[in-house]
């Protein structure tokens, strides 16, 4: 059946509205990218901090010399330059210093913890202290 109505097309407002919606979609994609990157970054930071503590605590359990070397390096809050002499694997500790902003070590008789500035505030990971 023939349609005798005149085709009116879109008005300018309708077109601008559709462009506005497209703009919202682009902003949505950008937001997704930002949130996804932030979550992935936070998870990587947490994994690195936990692995660093685990590695240092296991190595400290082998010998008293190793334990004192680790305590000295943690107190200096720096990546040691004489890695070969110390015999301890500080790979993760040096990575943590590089990748965890404002990294601080807190140690007492009960626990050893790492605190750093994550994208959404301060984060802390705590493990039982050296025996």
């Amino acid at each position: 059946m023939l349609n005798n109505n005149f085709s009116q097309g879109f008005t300018l407002i309708e077109l601008l509205l559709s462009l506005f919606l497209t703009a919202l979609m682009v902003m949505g994609i950008t937001q997704y990218l930002l949130v996804s990157s932030r979550i992935s970054f936070t998870l990587q930071q947490e994994a690195l901090a936990a692995r660093t503590l685990e590695s240092l605590l296991i190595q400290a359990s082998f010998s008293n010399l190793g334990k004192s070397n680790i305590e000295a390096v943690l107190a200096s809050n720096a990546c040691p330059s004489n890695l070969a002499e110390l015999q301890i694997d500080f790979t993760l500790w040096c990575q943590a210093l590089d990748q965890l902003p404002q990294l601080k070590v807190n140690s007492n008789s009960n626990y050893l913890s790492l605190e750093w500035q994550a994208p959404k505030g301060k984060k802390t990971i705590r493990r039982p202290a050296f025996n």
């Binding site: 300018l12 462009l19 994609i29 990218l33 190595q59 010399l65 070969a84 015999q87 790979t91 040096c94």
Partner: protein, 228 residues
């Protein structure tokens, strides 16, 4: 009657439309690149976790490290050499090994048959961390994790109370722990910042500048404290 747009309206809509299309296509292209990089990083992390867990489990369950060998060339060198295992001394077993990597042979029991070898070599379908179980009827080396470019081991010798390297293991009566480090490469180039050089246990490793992202993993494990 169809009214249509005036020229000014058409120009405004075209301009805004093309700007938005450009932004949308840029956004989608970035999203696609981001997703590709994320999935490649995820695959790399999965492979490094697999290699780490396999080595941790094998070392933890081991009762002894029989023998180990050190790299003879600097990383990156992917040339291979055939190494005679040398344990037991009469053994004629040999295996291929990257000259820039370490290897180790560990035991999970009294029998010489219960030997496991971890080494790095290149096979038909690529290179990686390989595992050989001598307890099987026809022992053969299988690649456990692909694209592992480097393996380093060091061992804690109880009587010396010190960490020793692979060539000193046979002169140590009891090894009570082991540390390992692995360098894994992504299978595609990634837009992720990579250091030109990493220092592993005092050794400088210069990473190739080929766009491939490399991940360094290290861990320390106690051997099972159970008498043979």
């Amino acid at each position: 009657m169809q009214k249509g747009f005036s020229l000014v309206e058409l120009l405004i809509v075209s301009l805004l439309g093309s700007l938005l299309l450009l932004a949308a296509s840029q956004g989608l292209a970035t999203l696609a690149k981001h997703q590709k990089d994320q999935s490649e990083l995820l695959r790399l992390t999965e492979r490094s976790n697999l290699a780490e867990v396999a080595l941790k489990k094998a070392i933890y369950e081991a009762q002894n490290i029989f023998i180990a060998g050190e790299a003879t060339q600097q990383y990156p060198s992917f040339s291979q050499q055939n190494i005679l295992l040398g344990y037991p001394k009469t053994s004629e077993d040999s295996f291929n090994q990257f000259t820039s990597s370490d290897w180790m042979l560990l035991s999970q029991g009294k029998s010489v048959k219960k030997r496991y070898l971890f080494h790095l070599d290149k096979k038909t379908y690529g290179y990686g961390l390989a595992f050989k179980d001598f307890g099987k009827n026809k022992p053969r080396s299988d690649t456990l994790v692909n694209q592992v470019e480097l393996v380093r081991f060091k061992f804690f010798c109880e009587e010396a109370q010190a960490w020793i390297r692979g060539n000193q293991v046979s002169s140590c009566k009891k090894v009570t722990g082991a540390s390992f480090a692995l360098l894994l490469a992504s299978s595609q180039a990634l837009e992720k910042k990579q250091l030109a050089q990493v220092i592993l246990w005092g050794e400088k490793l210069t990473l190739p500048t080929d766009g491939i992202y490399r991940q360094l993993v290290s861990a320390t494990v106690h051997l099972m404290d159970k008498p043979l």
